[in-house]
Amino acid sequence: MSRVGVFICHCGENIGRTVDCEAVAEALKDHPGVAVAKDYKYMCSDPGQQLVKKAIEDNDLTGVVVAACSPHMHEKTFRRACDQAGLNKYMCEMANIREHCSWIHEDRGEATEKAIDITRTIVEKVKHNKPLESIRIPVTKRALVIGGGIAGIQAALDIADGGHQVVLIEKEASIGGHMSQLSETFPTLDCSQCILTPRMVEAYQHPNITLHTWSEVEKVDGYIGNFNVKIRKKARSVNEDLCNGCGDCQAACPAKRIPSEFEAGLGKRTAIYVPFPQAVPNIPVLDRQNCTLFKGRRKGLAKVACGKCKEACLKGAIDYDAEDTFVEEEIGAIVVATGFQLYNIGREQPEGLKGYGEYGYGEVPDVIDGLQFERLASASGPTAGAILRPSDGKEPKTVVFVHCVGSRDPEKGISYCSKICCMYNAKHAMLYKHKVHDGRAVAFYMDIRAAGKGYDEFSRRAIEEDGAEYIRGRVSRIFRDGDVVKVWGYDTLSQEQVVIDADMVVLATAMRPQDGVRELAQKLSVSTDEHGFINEAHPKLRPVETNTAGVFVAGACQAPRDIPDAVAMASAAGAKVMSLFSADELEREPAVAIVNENTCIGCMNCAKVCAYGAIEQREICAVDGHVCGHVAYVNPGVCQGCGTCQAVCPSKSVELQTFTDEQIFSEINALCYWE
């Protein structure tokens, strides 16, 4: 016979205001199987917990029901108290009479009735609870960081400095990400490369970090603490062990006019190239799409069309026949830091987005985006830091900066604010004025969003000290008129139309998640939002975790982020990984499905519906060892306890340990039988 203790919490006024807690205790006192029912002002307080513990000891309780708040809030608290009092902690359940009752009702009488019903159902459930043990799973103490931008580098360094192995992978030829392309950074105007490249080198040389550049995640299996990750190392055509980074191959390459991705199309590179001089690792890749030799091969030419780089390489590091290779790594935790890309602006748009044809981007050479301006302003850029416009290399005397191109424009498919543009526009205006003293910098803005330490002061400085002209309003059209770029806009403060004869226009385009992030998210079983940004587990309380245990997120792949945010997130994700790695085993609640192998017919319907890939087929052997059938097996490390398998099982052979059919039917019965 069960002896259940029922404890009703007033939660101060939260529950007590609408629910007559004493009446609930009184009603439950006579419920079959209830040994004791008490109410208390704050059950979660220390005296409250003592009350529960004492009742367990005094009445030798077999189960505990705490009628209070949501189990998300205090289930752990009360289970711990039960554990301390010698009762198996899974014999303790919460009856949610706050979120599900007192907070949403007004009538005290009815709310009290409902609170009684809720508590009764849980009492009936607890009667069928069985003592369970927590699941323990081993942890591989090696982390995978996907993406080698500033966020990925930071996370990798933090984890590696904490003494754990890190595998850092980057799809480009060098780590560094977008930050390596920036000239100076707001709000302090430090040189971006000067603060970044030491970190890049540190990550490369760190004994605990294994770096795979020119690589992508091919496949992810497993679960928290026990991932198996297959990494595709794309054919580099250069042997990383032999290459010493001398650069002779680049000098010998005859294809010299390929637009450089690093220079945002403003500079040129060769077909075999290191993206930028400070690249880490300083090992070139061969761009087979643009290589003369490979072009020849694609055309089916019998003779070798080029081969100059191979001739030039004294180390014999170049291998035209290299193929993609695969590396498999055992991983305990994953940090996703795949960063962002810029919105396209022009006509060509991915599905769901629309462009700004009227801004002439891609058609008027002197209309550029923010990243291109960074390259113009960068000391290592195509103009060695001189602000010269792309069309004729002249110094522009009037530059127009347009905020919110794509961002905050639901018409174009992007409703969110890209967060960094107000600040980098102010920075661009400043950098421009610092370099072209007699120049005119005009910015068209919607609002100035400068929330951050020193940010507002910075954007005020652009206006007050450096004399940037800020016009509140949108630009309607940008077109070329002879030598000038005409900008038509509207000043919403003076309510006048504005026409500016600019020499160059810089469009502050929206940040978008990287291409392929949805596919990656699928491989990792994490979700993305409507724009493709990776969803965090909770927007406030779990900002760097995802819904898949053991997968963390950092930087601009989660939402538009500036450098300080991305670094903070990366360190937070690193800390989460370290806390995961702090124990040899992980403890998980036993809220997982269990297969009854005696009745399972091996139809595997459960495996088909399992969203987490937790179910596999197992062979059943007879006494003599020959295989006599198949059954389903639920991997307790992967199972998330959703119960979908339970719903589809035709032979009722799979059940969540914490929500058995028996328990659920008892709950329903409780609602039907007692009035």
Partner: protein
């Protein structure tokens, strides 16, 4: 032969008769049957819909209902304002609560909102393959071959996108496609969808002159020989007011309706297309284009003849050479 209902609206019966004339001429040539909606009334542009929303929907709805009752599923409304009002009414009835029930009550007869609304550009765009075929098959040389024309859409033809929805609202290309179908070259210019000043032509003429000048100057700067329009108001602002815009004695810029352009390409007579009704004289342009076309055809013919003659001469020479070669081969054979 496709049959569509035709809603001319006030402009095409009045100030823009040449749009009506050229549309009818071109439709006949392309095998499109146009039946004017019997008993049509005002579309309610500007004065109607600025007075009252319901009035602004009910007025065009009446014409749509007539077309529906007369058995049509498509109405062609060449005037951009008529087109926009009818499309807007159609959208409002389809999406706004209660309107679908209210409108038949107001009209006094049933209305299922089943009629599609097309403007002249859409109609011609749909027929562009036929236009290409007809232009290719025409006997007279195509006067528009290789001529640079600027497609001017103005505001109401493609905007707002929710109402029109058949082309990009900021960088439309449908009229450019029709220009290309006629064998002419579309001009990539900047003022395709800028405002012509609309009805301010009367109340704020100066503004209209400034706006129109910007449009015409930009078309000229991009090498256009004429501007193609599909809206009576755009036409009148750019054509009627052009004399007042000219500042430095520029060459006048002829403004043609899209239907007139197609008509020219199809070899119809300028007089049948109402090309004599414009304020900016179209005669010099057409004369020049016709002459250019004739010269081009003559030059092509000459080039062809010369090539043929050359080919014949070459064939002759080869024949002689081949004969010599054969004898040479025979000699070789002997030597063996």
């Amino acid at each position: 032969m496709t049959n569509v209902a035709y809603y001319p609206g006030c402009s095409l019966h009045g100030t823009s008769r040449e749009f009506d004339e050229s549309l009818r001429a071109v439709a006949a040539e392309l095998g499109i049957g146009l039946t004017e909606i019997a008993d049509w009334s005002c579309c309610g542009a500007s004065s109607g819909h600025t007075t009252d929303h319901l009035l602004g929907v009910a007025l065009p709805a009446r014409n749509l209902a007539l077309a529906e009752a007369q058995g049509f599923d498509t109405v062609v409304a060449p005037c951009a304002a008529c087109y926009n009002r009818m499309s807007a009414a159609r959208l409002a009835i389809a999406t706004e609560d209660g309107l679908a029930e209210q409108i038949p009550d107001i009209l006094g007869h049933p209305f299922a909102n089943s009629v599609h609304v097309h403007n002249a550009v859409e109609l011609l765009h749909d027929a562009s393959t036929i236009i290409e075929e007809k232009v290719a098959a025409a006997l007279a040389p195509n006067p528009l071959e290789g001529v640079k024309l600027a497609a001017y859409y103005g505001c109401l033809l493609v905007r707002p996108f929710e109402v029109c929805g058949y082309d990009d609202p900021e960088q439309p290309t449908s009229m450019d496609d029709v220009i290309n179908a006629c064998g002419a070259d579309d001009v990539d210019w900047d003022m395709k969808v800028e405002c012509c000043g609309g009805a301010f032509s009367v109340s704020r003429t100066k503004s209209v002159l400034r706006l129109g000048r910007a449009i015409i100057d930009n078309a000229r700067a991009h090498g256009a020989e004429a501007i193609i329009v599909a809206c009576p108001l755009c036409h009148s602002n750019l054509d009627l007011r052009q004399k007042a815009m000219a500042q430095r004695g520029e060459e006048p810029m002829p403004i043609l309706f899209v239907t007139q352009m197609v008509g020219l390409a199809l070899g119809l007579a300028p007089v049948d297309l109402g090309l004599g009704r414009h304020f900016v004289d179209t005669e010099p342009l057409i004369a020049r284009l016709v002459q250019q076309a004739a010269e081009r055809v003559a030059a092509e013919k000459l080039a062809k003849e010369e090539a043929a003659a050359k080919a014949a001469a070459r064939a002759e020479k080869q024949k002689v050479g081949a004969a010599a070669g054969t004898s040479g081969g025979a000699e070789g054979g002997e030597a063996q």
